[in-house]
Symmetry: C2
Subunit: 439 residues, 2 copies
Amino acid sequence: MTRTWQDIAKAKQAALSDSIPPEWRVPTDIMPPDSQLDVTGFPRDSGFFTKDELKYTTAKIPEILQQIHCKAWKAVDVAQAFSKRAAKTGKPIGPLHGLPVSLKDNFNIIGKDSTLGFVSWVGVPATYNTVLVDVLLKAGAVLYVKTNVPTAMMIAESVNNTFGRTVNPLNRKLTSGGSSGGESALIAFGGSVLGVGTDIGGSLRIPAACTGIFTLRPSFGRFPTANAKSGLAGQEAVNSVNGPMARTLDDIEFFAKNVVNSEPWKLDPKCLPISWRPVDVGRKLRLGVIWNDGIVVPTPPVRRALKHAVEKLQEASHEIVDWEPELHQEAMDLLVSPTTPFASVEHGKFKHVGYTGVFNILDYSAVSFPSGIYADSELDKAETGIKTLSQMDAQIQAEYNAGAVHGMPVSLQLVASRLEEEKAVAMTRVVLEGLGVAA
Amino acid sequence: MTRTWQDIAKAKQAALSDSIPPEWRVPTDIMPPDSQLDVTGFPRDSGFFTKDELKYTTAKIPEILQQIHCKAWKAVDVAQAFSKRAAKTGKPIGPLHGLPVSLKDNFNIIGKDSTLGFVSWVGVPATYNTVLVDVLLKAGAVLYVKTNVPTAMMIAESVNNTFGRTVNPLNRKLTSGGSSGGESALIAFGGSVLGVGTDIGGSLRIPAACTGIFTLRPSFGRFPTANAKSGLAGQEAVNSVNGPMARTLDDIEFFAKNVVNSEPWKLDPKCLPISWRPVDVGRKLRLGVIWNDGIVVPTPPVRRALKHAVEKLQEASHEIVDWEPELHQEAMDLLVSPTTPFASVEHGKFKHVGYTGVFNILDYSAVSFPSGIYADSELDKAETGIKTLSQMDAQIQAEYNAGAVHGMPVSLQLVASRLEEEKAVAMTRVVLEGLGVAA
């Protein structure tokens, strides 16, 4: 008898569940009720995690590494706290020694499936590692979990027929974005301190924005991409890139610097031999603001966040220019724009990757960062009679539900030129100072 | 009546001839006889050039620039001496101020044809400049001549139906190579001190080798390539690159450094933002030697030059490894190989671009340099009974004529990794020291 796709998916989900030791599964009686939408407090409040486990999983990367390297913490304990999996021990073998790093499903690891959500790829374990996996292992990272994606990684929510849907731990009725939405959910929940996703149209930035974390979308060639699994093999008109996702900008830079300085171009011929360069971006920036992209007006909380950011940056004496396409030859330090039209959005309603996708076409470097503004059902009511720019815009405005997204963090995007990752990070730091948001 | 291609070519040649002032055309009575094969001595010996003109055209680039900048020489005189064309005057406007630079035909200059040898492109002047043209003009270079190519630039000799055939000034029965063979002939004749060609399978290195001059084939993205004319528009599997051709390695580095440091990535989005980096290559190198490529054995003078180079480098305590494909993961500083199977070769007989083309596929950086060895009809006799590697090899060995190439300089190729142009140049310098050849 032929197995249906439902049979295969069910068996895969059972195998995944079985791979988690029974003592690490949350007992039914303490599981948050379905009515509890924000579950990010669960680890802290449930009593299910020990004091040490909470200490490890809430520490910042430099502290984790310092404690491991001075042997106050054991790498195995830290990794278990994050993952309930065993970690390598011994002397530090690299700058990430003992640091648990989570990976999006499409990073191949020998012996593990990379299904990309396709049922047909269940039970087809990778026979080689993605180059970045080798780089991270050599740096001493502990790889302990792979995270969910949409089928083929080609939509902006993380749902597929193999594993089902990933929800947003800040509000389970909302999407954690996609395609790196398993990563964003895990990091926002505190189950990972540093994750790696990929981006071909916004797949790092959209999930980061939906959960209020940081990410860096590098230009192609900056981080190694060889031997990752593609959902559209052979499509090279726009190259997929990978990048870090984390709760702080410092952690983003930590990843970028260490990966680039490992000289990954010796392992991936498409990777560019450019070291992580010191940059001096100055204290006063000239920013072009993209209020909307001419196709979709951002929803009210995003409009408010962008306006707030611009006001704060003007107060901090940065020069602000309303960017229009005809200004493309003018020298700007960077562009600031919405990351997506949404704070986050109800499952199934994410639309329009235009704000991120344009910078994949241009291959520019971009950071998505939390703006410090949170959606507010009172302040961000739907406006009526607003001029719509397109059919899609009309639909997004009609579907906007101020109550549904109340309390969600709003992110914005900073864009530098091609291969200016150092500048993008450094300028984000300056902007965060202006906004009074922690880096 | 429809004009035939012969009519169009004849008219174009006449127009080209008319563009040269009568007083700069060589009178018939002092023209070297057809029997004189090496015409490189003509400028010095004919009395046709003034003492000053000879001084200008035999000086090295730093001297030319210094004399112009301190106003001892006039840029217009230097440019006239090279070109019989007027040059800009005034204060130095850039690091190449007053330096005449010759360009291969496919660099677009507003108002000038870029025929690539096609009769159908006669009378179709460019409406925009190639980005590199703008870069050179902004640096103060004087563009005074465009040089011949094979039709579509896709063979290794420079012959086409519009302008005819370019010959080798060192021996007019031999080819100056191609496709940048107009450049190599002009530079070897002393009609240019610095030229720019292009390379998609060896088109910089082959003509440089046929005339005993230097060139650098950079990796794609190092020098700007935008808006040059292609013979195969749309073909991007292997990208064409451009690079300098000159009589010294110093001049090659001078061009590379100044072009890269002009930040051409701000003008060409495919150009990489990598400054010209200081490198320390060490005094002892580990070189892999490619004695032959498995398809064609180099002709006797090239075999002798490579053997000589290896012996000298061993004497200078460099480490030499006979490179085989299975060694590709071993760390070498660089590879040394023939640039072509030939010193040069009779017109119509150039074959096999394998020694250069493989590094276009790999997009590696490579230098072709004169080895200090000259073909010698006594030392480099054709060998009989030598095992041939392929049909093409058999044909090349059968056609080899030791007498025809007697006295021609033999060049070799040094290859570094992708985007290691600084290293390629610096290591060539170390190798030249070992060989006792001037840089």
